[in-house]
């Protein structure tokens, strides 16, 4: 049963909704602060550019973000109001680098109609009050006292009911607002009011202006010396103040965002709906406004927010495309643009649809999203884990080890690749044709297995075999010296660096050698109680050629020991516990922090912080990487050292913000890996896997990889067809001409490797693509793309006509093989019992795929079911049909074969306006609705009465805070059937803010455990701004607010891993579970995404 669900973010929101610039983190520091719906990001302006400082989760959807500075303060405070009527004032405490809460509160009213045009929150420029317009007809005031403290809030009645914008005017003796509103004849006006704090009421303001542009939507208050306000319309821009009125016509456009450039308010950047950036200039003579001028600067992403930063650099935040850092050049480029895009910040939002496919056929899901809108529409391929881009490969069975060697100590590139087998060693090298061919290093012993190889100082190479250590000249390739193990003491394991060799023989003997010019010197010998299983002397100190420490893993007592070098004294002994021996140890440093990694024979990895002076091991952590023994090796990519853990579940270990992270490598099984940086294959890795040696380069080291395919049009539906290796999308393109805006709708076929458009079918005028499906029918094995459409006529409230189009892909072309007219919009299509199930307006309709006499095919209506407002989302399982309705929540239908009929079995009687549905299992269905909640309902087959059986019982409720457009079964990570997480079913969701999330159905005992952890974490991890996690996650709609149940917040639970040791121990104590166990269990969950 999928009752217990764990919700976690795989890709955080990227839709930038607000931004502002000010001195937040220090009086001299200039910050850019960005809101991404439920998160804020604090950046610092530096000579190198924007430096990200902090990503701050907010327990609410941000409605207002404003920086302000009360009198007497030296730096700015941040005001945030959330859509659920909470607000907070945040301050940066530079001493502790913490965000502290200056004030917070609840500004909700029991009675009141939430505003249609969004919430407005504004701060008086003289810091006398904060104004909020949250409900129609009310203006809420939070006054400041003269010390900058907030006082009790109160409401003022606002006569204007259809408010479009409110701003404070500058330079007024009394706090004064200007209100842009629409009257009941749809005409737009502005009006000013003074706020009388004493009387808690409005007083008529100094001026008003009637009959503005019908598209006037935005007010820009102008600071002194000009004061007044700019009113931005669709065809005009007006400057208005008590003493002046200036207007200019503009090219018809909708201004989405503005950013003030100059402190005196003489220039503004305006971003419009088509991504054009204009500069608006207030022309003036001695503080007197003489007119307005506007100039086109160039094109950016469609802006939702614009912040002028410094020195001609501007941040453009976008909801519909990638956000950008742009520079305004002094001279236009060849295309007449002053805009230069310098950086791009990925935004997946709005994710309107997506599909999960395995394009590389590696058993791992990739998500392909329909992202962005208008001209910024794109497909994004989102893949978890690190890919290896294969350059060359040869079949080679039985590889036991690999090392790369240079032909001279100072060489930049590796020349040789030593490959060891059970009874021989082969040397590969790049020849002049840049091909890998077999060669010889005469001084090496090639008739036996090599245990270890390394480059050594003085143009030498070291080879360790079971009987000896050979020192070989890398230039002449001849043996220069050899150290022999005593008879009967064969060498079991060995390691080396440029100047040192450490080896262990049978019987627990540890021998330490140093490498000189043509000589190997045995420096030290130690006899240990047990045999040695693994060792390492990777230098992590200041000398890159010499290590002061040696790490040794032991059989029998299952321990790791740290020895000092060169004296080989035992300085630390750490028992690992359990019965699994360490198979690989590695000394390494990430971001300057030294660690000891220790991999066990069962796929677990332990890591410790290493004190390089004392050899002390602290902060032990354990993670499960795979199920087979792991071999650890370091490698470099982009000048950073990472660790490759070769096993049945190859993993790259890296560090970000001083935290170790584990990212899957997208290969099935890797037995050995060594870096191989040759001239022909720079920065490559040699990888031994499944009887094959592969040379390949590695992706950037990060968890999620996102590839963008810009379309220049808006993709709204997508699906993949395995047989033709294509994607099909429904898309629309906006054509803007000076006379009229029009849009054209297409069905496009894309190659699934190149993502090129290979075929296009244009829909009729007014015809929208609403749904798309890849399916085949009974008695017809061909794969078809079925497309559902609607004719959206301007005069109709709901479409009354649509089509179902059936396409086949032939020679890379979309061939229309059948079409069927429908009596409404085909909102959803599903393959169902070898037939086609369509949701058409309020009806569910089943079509058979019939063979005509002439051999052609047609869709023939079989049966249907009425009784929905609009059946928007449909999922099926066996004979069951789950329908998500526009406003009547979820209902369950059943198809009766014998009767050829579809009947309603049960429904949820709540009035949820649905945005997506999915079937978790036979009995539990998942829904998302338009108040950003998730819920699950259960079929009650065992109910005693018809009434009970006819009711879908709500079993889970949760406030996600995101608008979900699509659920899909699938996983972003490769699932190992024998691992614990491999058994957990998952669903992926995509949202308007660009979030990709995972919902995992946990076993009950694991759920109960994690719920307890979540409860404890709520006490330790505080909500920023004093906002409560419990309230944030409560199911919230206009009708009810109830505590979340049967859903867990994975983001909170996984933040356990970011806590300091003392906080972890606090939780460990209250839960009576060891820190190590807690970390391991949480780490396991992080591997779900």
């Amino acid at each position: 049963m999928s009752t217990y669900n764990y919700v976690v973010t795989a890709h955080k929101p990227t839709n930038v909704t607000h931004s502002c610039v000010g001195n937040f983190t220090g009086p001299q520091e200039l910050n850019l602060i960005i809101a991404k719906c439920t998160r804020i990001e604090i950046h610092l302006l530096t000579p190198q550019g924007l430096q990200p400082m902090l990503d701050v989760p907010i327990y609410g959807r941000i409605a207002t973000l404003e920086l302000f500075r009360p009198h007497g303060e030296t730096q700015d405070l941040l005001f945030i109001a959330t859509e659920r009527y909470k607000f907070c004032v945040l301050q940066w405490d530079a001493d502790t680098n913490e965000v502290i809460t200056r004030a917070m509160g609840d500004v909700s009213d029991r009675i009141g109609r939430p505003t249609d045009n969004g919430q407005i929150g504004i701060i008086d420029p003289d810091c006398r009050l904060i104004g909020l317009h949250l409900y129609d007809g009310l203006f809420k005031v939070i006054p400041f006292d003269n010390k900058g403290q907030l006082k009790e809030a109160f409401n003022i009645r606002l006569e204007e009911l259809q408010v479009l914008d409110i701003k404070f005017l500058y330079g007024c003796p009394k706090p004064t607002i200007v209100v842009l509103y629409q009257d009941n004849k749809d005409a737009r006006h502005v009006k000013t009011y003074e706020v009388s704090l004493k009387d808690k009421d409005f007083v008529e303001g100094p001026w008003s202006q009637n009959n503005l542009d019908n598209g006037a939507d935005l007010l820009i208050p102008v600071p002194p010396p000009f004061c007044g306000v700019l009113i931005i319309g669709e065809e005009t821009i007006v400057y208005c103040s008590a003493s002046a009125f200036k207007a200019i016509p503009i090219r018809p456009s909708i201004t989405r965002a503005y950013g003030r450039v100059d402190a005196d308010g003489s220039r503004y950047l305006l971003g419009d709906h088509s991504g054009l950036l204009h500069l608006l200039v207030i022309a003036h003579e001695k503080e007197k406004v003489t007119g307005l001028k506007i100039e086109l600067l160039g094109e950016t992403s469609i802006a939702s927010t614009i912040s002028y930063l410094d020195n001609a650099f501007v941040y453009v935040g976008s909801s519909y495309g990638d956000s950008q850092l742009i520079k305004l050049n002094l001279q236009p480029d060849a295309k007449g643009s002053y805009v230069e895009v310098l950086e791009r910040y990925v935004n997946l939002g709005p994710i309107v649809d997506f599909c999960v496919v395995d394009l590389e056929r590696q058993g791992q899901g990739q998500v392909v999203t329909c992202s962005g809108a208008f001209k910024d529409g794109s497909l994004r391929i989102v893949r978890n884990g690190i890919g290896i881009n294969e350059q060359a490969s040869v079949e080679l069975q039985g590889i036991k080890g690999m090392w790369s060697l240079r032909s001279a100590t100072d060489d930049l590139y590796d020349t040789f690749l030593v490959v060891s087998f059970i009874s021989e060693t082969r040397i590969l090298a790049m020849n002049l044709e840049d091909e890998l061919e077999e060669t010889e290093i005469e001084g090496f012993c090639s008739q036996v297995q090599t245990l270890f190889c390394h480059d050594a100082v003085h143009n030498q190479l070291v080879q360790v075999t079971s009987s000896s250590v050979r020192l070989v000249s890398s230039t002449s390739r001849e043996l220069r010296h050899e150290w022999h193990a005593p008879a009967d003491y064969s060498i079991n394991v060995a390691t080396a660096n440029a100047t040192q060799v450490l080896l262990a023989t049978r019987g627990g003997h540890l021998v330490y050698l140093e490498i000189g010019d043509g000589v190997l010197v045995e420096k030290k010998h130690a006899q240990l109680k047990y045999d040695i299983s693994c060792l390492d002397i990777n230098p992590i100190g200041e000398n890159p050629n010499f290590s002061n420490l040696a790490a040794v893993g032991m059989w029998t007592d299952i321990s790791v020991r740290i020895f000092s070098l060169p004296d080989l004294n035992l300085i630390t002994e750490e028992h690992l516990g359990g019965e699994i021996i360490p198979r690989s140890v590695l000394l390494c440093a990430f971001e300057g922090i030294p660690y000891l990694l220790c991999a066990l024979g069962d796929g677990h990895l332990l890591n410790f912080l290493l004190n390089t002076t004392t050899g002390g091991l602290t902060d032990r952590k354990k993670v499960s990487l795979g199920t087979q023994p792991i071999t650890l090796r370091t490698f470099s990519s982009k000048n950073t050292t990472h660790v490759f853990a070769a096993s049945d579940r190859p993993t790259v270990i890296y560090s970000s913000n001083k935290k170790l992270l584990y990212s899957n490598v997208n290969l099935k099984e890797v037995s050995h890996m060594c870096p191989f940086n040759s001239a022909a294959f720079p920065d490559s890795l040699a990888i031994a896997k499944e009887g094959e040696l592969t040379i390949g380069t590695i992706d950037d080291i990060q968890k999620l990889h996102i590839r963008s395919i810009p379309l220049g049009e808006h993709a709204r539906r997508i699906c993949h067809q395995e047989q033709s290796r294509t994607f099909a999308i429904c898309s629309l393109k906006y054509n803007q001409s000076s006379t009229e805006d029009s849009e054209m709708h297409f069905i496009r076929l894309l190659d699934d490797q190149t993502f090129d458009f290979i075929s296009t079918y244009s829909l009729d005028q007014f015809e929208y693509g609403c749904s798309i499906l890849n399916c085949s029918f009974s008695d017809d094995s061909n794969a078809y793309y079925c497309v559902g459409t609607a004719y959206v006529m301007p005069e109709e409230n709901e479409p009354t006509k649509g089509r179902i189009l059936v396409f086949m892909v032939e020679d890379g072309k979309l061939q229309l093989v059948a079409e069927k007219e429908t009596k409404g919009a085909v909102y959803s299509l599903n393959a169902f019992n070898g037939k086609l199930l369509a949701a058409i307006n309020q009806k569910i309709q089943l079509y058979k795929w019939m063979l005509r006499d002439d051999g052609t095919r047609e869709l023939q209506s079989e049966c249907g079911h009425h009784g929905h407002i609009l059946a928007l989302y449909v999922q099926t399982r066996g004979d069951f049909i789950v329908v998500g309705d526009l406003m009547k929540s979820i209902s369950l239908l059943i198809y009766k074969h014998e009767e050829g009929a579809i009947e309603e079995r049960a429904r949820d009687y709540n009035a949820n306006w649905m945005s997506a549905v999915e079937i978790l299992d036979d009995d539990i269905y998942l829904g998302a609705e338009n108040n950003y909640n998730l819920f699950t309902v259960r079929k009650n087959s065992e109910g005693a009465t018809d009434e009970e059986r006819g009711r879908l019982e709500v079993v889970g409720e949760y406030h996600l805070g995101e608008f979900v457009n699509r659920f899909r079964h699938g996983s972003l990570v490769m699932r190992l059937p024998d691992s614990d997480v491999g058994q957990i079913p998952t669903i992926i969701f995509g949202t308007v803010n660009g979030v990709i999330g995972v919902i995992a159905s946990l076993p009950q005992d694991q759920y109960v455990f994690m719920e307890k952890l979540q409860t404890n974490l709520r006490k330790v991890i505080k909500g920023v701004g004093g906002l409560s996690h419990e309230q944030w996650r409560s199911f919230y709609s206009e009708k009810k607010t109830v505590d979340s149940r049967n859903f867990l917040d994975g983001d909170l639970i996984e933040s356990f891993l970011d806590l300091g040791r003392t906080r972890m121990e606090e939780i460990s104590k209250t839960m009576n579970v060891s820190v190590e166990e807690l970390m391991k269990r949480v780490e396991e969950l992080t591997r779900l995404h």
Binding site: L30, E41, I42, H43, T46, P47, Q48, G49, L50, P52, D55, P57, C88, V89, D93, E98, V99, I100, T101, R102, A103, V107, S108, K140, I142, Q149, L150, E152, A153, F154, I156, E159, S196, D201, E204, V261, R267, K293, E295, Y308, D310, N311, A312, F313, K327, L328, L330, L342, E343, R344, Y345, N657, I1021, K1022, G1023, G1025, G1026, S1055, D1058, R1063
Partner: protein, 102 residues
């Protein structure tokens, strides 16, 4: 093209962005900030800064205000700093409160 207004961009610190090495614009920026998880006690503001709304509704508040004004001794008016506005105001609020009545 007249670039009469393009340029002379404000500068707060001339060093900002001076050493910016732009990414390949086709490769998005990958710098990610640390996620903040506060564990300190100062996420809760001082008790007097937990703000709530006045419970009284607007009509009642205005009725009380008016009755206060009626009860106020006459000499208080001369102490008022803005007598002109004060005398205007009750009329305006009176009109609006009557709108609220059924």
């Amino acid at each position: 093209m007249g670039s009469w207004s393009v340029g002379n961009w404000p500068s707060f610190d001339p060093h900002n962005f001076s050493q910016l090495r732009p990414n390949d614009p086709s490769a998005p920026s990958k710098k990610t900030p640390i996620t903040y998880h506060p564990t300190h006690e100062r996420t809760i503001p001082p008790p007097d800064q937990v703000i709530s709304s006045e419970a009284k509704n607007i009509l009642l508040r205005q009725l009380y205000q008016r009755s206060d004004e009626k009860l106020r001794p006459k000499r208080a008016a001369s102490e008022n700093l803005a007598p002109e506005q004060e005398s205007k105001h009750p009329r305006a609020s009176g009109a609006s409160s009557s709108d609220l009545l059924p």
